[in-house]
Amino acid sequence: MVRAENVTKRYQRREGPVLALDDVSLEVARGEFVSIMGPSGCGKSTLLLTLGCLIRPSEGKVWLNGRSVYDLNHKEAAALRLNTIGFVFQTFNLVPYLTALENVQIPLYLSGLSPTQQRERALHLLDKVGLGDRLSHKPSELSVGQQQRVALARTLANEPRLILADEPTGNLDPALAEEMLDHLQELHREGVTVVMATHDPRLAAHAQRRLRLVGGRVNVPSASA
């Protein structure tokens, strides 16, 4: 599904260049559930964003469904993010002035669906995550768990085949973290490819395959759970 080939990413910082990813090569098969573990600042987020077509590597290539994503033009890359990739953010990144329903409608609006089609699909998704009665609530009027579910419904709006989850439980209490994990596992069972970055070993243990990222290198491939 997605493959990183000798990916190196350097950032230029005031105090000098920082090596975020150091010659990383990895392949995630279609339908696989992979966790990437590592301490804070080890390059997990950079790796996920690189796989998600958002950070151009300094060296190396990223292939998604057989296409070199950084050889695509801006429009094609945007289309890929819209239709194939779904991000789960640690901080949910909901638009504060939109209601739950409208937040879920955003990817559908970007896909060019009519407002009626957007509404129907968003209603279905919010119903599925148990928020059918919170449609008109703004994020600030929702609990953390509810916000997380709105964000998940938004991620799933265009039925992505690859989910990139960056510390998806970082802001959640244990019960909500468990709930989030259940959602990701359910998606995995439905055939969606999931790559999850986490520093929590218990969460990582639920993945099919665990990778460890240290100092920008994938150096300790773990056994399957």
């Binding site: 801006h74 945007a78 901080t91 990144n93 638009v95 409208e102 955003i106 990817p107 609006y109 938004r154």
Partner: protein, 413 residues
């Protein structure tokens, strides 16, 4: 969800921030509309006053000079009366009023007096070719002296002239019979002439139709009769020795004089520069004044909008990053911000036009000393101007928004 709904939701959410920018652009347009509306009517009023000073173009026989004209002594200099037809039937723009004259010296009780033949208005009306020129005595559209009917009334005159007898336009005489004359004030005093008095000229008996008020010019020493009567009395044939003309001041600078010279190569066309120039200067001054105002005010509005949009882009970095991560193109992000700038411009332009017009109508009579009416044609310009300023001022912030690196924003957490 639509782009418009997304923009409206955001505008609604951050009303207070928007208000500053909206007020800035609306205020700018308000001042421009108010100044423009007042100066429009002020210019018209000034132009009308200046027109009343008299003719600003003279058509004289080739050898005659302006001195001949002012001294009313043309000697043998004459030119065909048909020149009037040539001008009125030509396609020259800016010809507002024509008055052919033939002046001869006569002796009344041994004193030298000028007898000037003029063509009353009914003579113009009787000629189909002249009627087709849309009325030479009307103020043509586009001329600096056009005053809408309601305003003209408010100014105390009519669209074809006023009540004062000092102006050339007021010298337009509706009718003048073959045996009627009008006496200048000086002549009337010297010879004790009143309306109805008999006045013998060259052996013929004339009746004084009216006594003209004093003008302080050579006209006070004239007796006016019908042009054709004067021509007959002096066996001159169909000739005149001056055609006074009021040219619209703007047209004078746009080639009216050249046009007249080409049309009448055998005549001499003279502009009475002081009057024409004053008219031009007045208009130019007002236009420049408005322009300077406009530029400064629009700059202030533009800076305010640019500042607001930059702050807005910064504040919405995370939202923009999320949109890009969700699959929005840079074009889509630009569209969202440009639509916002467009709405701001249109609303600011409309509000500015409304308030500016109310201010102009309300304060115009006090500030400019003239009655002011709304100028609906300014509404379109106000909206267009506000729109252009708003969109241009937003160009840099919009480009910045579209160029944001979503990865960098998302990594900030």
């Amino acid at each position: 969800m639509t782009t418009l709904r997304l923009v409206l939701k955001e505008l609604h959410e951050r009303k207070s921030q928007l208000l500053t920018s909206f007020v800035a652009i609306a205020l700018g347009i308000t001042v421009i509309v108010a100044v423009r509306t007042m100066s429009h009517f002020s210019e018209k009023a000034v132009a009308q006053e200046l027109d009343n000073l008299g003719a600003n173009v003279l058509i004289l026989p080739k050898g005659a000079t302006v001195s001949n004209y002012y001294s009313a002594d043309f000697g043998e200099y004459v030119m065909p009366e048909s020149y009037v037809d040539d001008v009125t039937t030509s396609r020259l723009k800016g010809v507002d009023n024509l008055s052919p004259k033939l002046t001869e010296a006569i002796s009344l009780d041994g004193q030298r007096v000028y007898l000037t033949g003029i063509l009353p208005k009914n003579e113009f009306k009787s000629k189909p070719a002249w009627q087709a020129t849309d009325g030479i005595f009307a103020r043509p559209e586009g001329c600096g002296t056009v005053v809408p009917g309601a305003l003209a009334k408010a100014l105390g005159g009519s669209a074809q002239g006023g009540n004062s007898a000092t102006g050339s336009r007021q010298a337009v005489v509706e009718e003048l019979g073959g045996t009627e004359v009008m006496a200048g004030s000086d002549v009337a005093n010297r010879f004790a002439l009143k309306v109805g008095s008999a006045l013998p000229i060259k052996g013929e008996r004339f009746t004084v139709k009216s006594v003209l008020p004093s003008t302080g010019t050579v006209d006070d020493t004239r007796v006016f009769a019908h042009l054709h009567t004067v021509q007959r009395l002096f066996r001159r044939g169909r000739v005149v020795n001056a055609i006074e003309m009021i040219g619209c001041c703007k047209e004078i600078s746009k080639g009216l004089i050249d046009g007249l010279n080409r049309l009448l190569p055998e005549a001499k066309v003279v502009t009475i520069k002081q009057i024409a120039q004053t008219q031009l200067n007045t208009n130019t001054m007002m236009e420049r004044f408005s322009l300077i105002f406009l530029v400064i005010i629009l700059l202030v509005g533009a800076v305010s909008i640019a500042n607001y949009m930059l702050a807005n882009v910064y504040e919405r970095r995370k939202e923009i990053g999320t949109l890009l991560a969700l699959g929005a193109t840079r074009r889509c992000v630009s569209r969202i911000f440009l639509l916002k700038a467009t709405l701001l411009g249109v609303a600011g332009g409309l509000a500015g036009y409304g308030v500016g017009t109310v201010l102009a109508v309300g304060l115009g009579p006090r500030i400019a000393g003239v009655p002011v009416l709304p100028l609906p044609s300014l509404a379109g310009w106000a909206v267009l101007l506000a729109l252009v300023v708003s969109v241009l001022a937003s160009a840099l912030p919009v480009a910045k928004a579209a160029r944001l690196d979503p990865a960098e924003i998302l990594r900030e957490g």
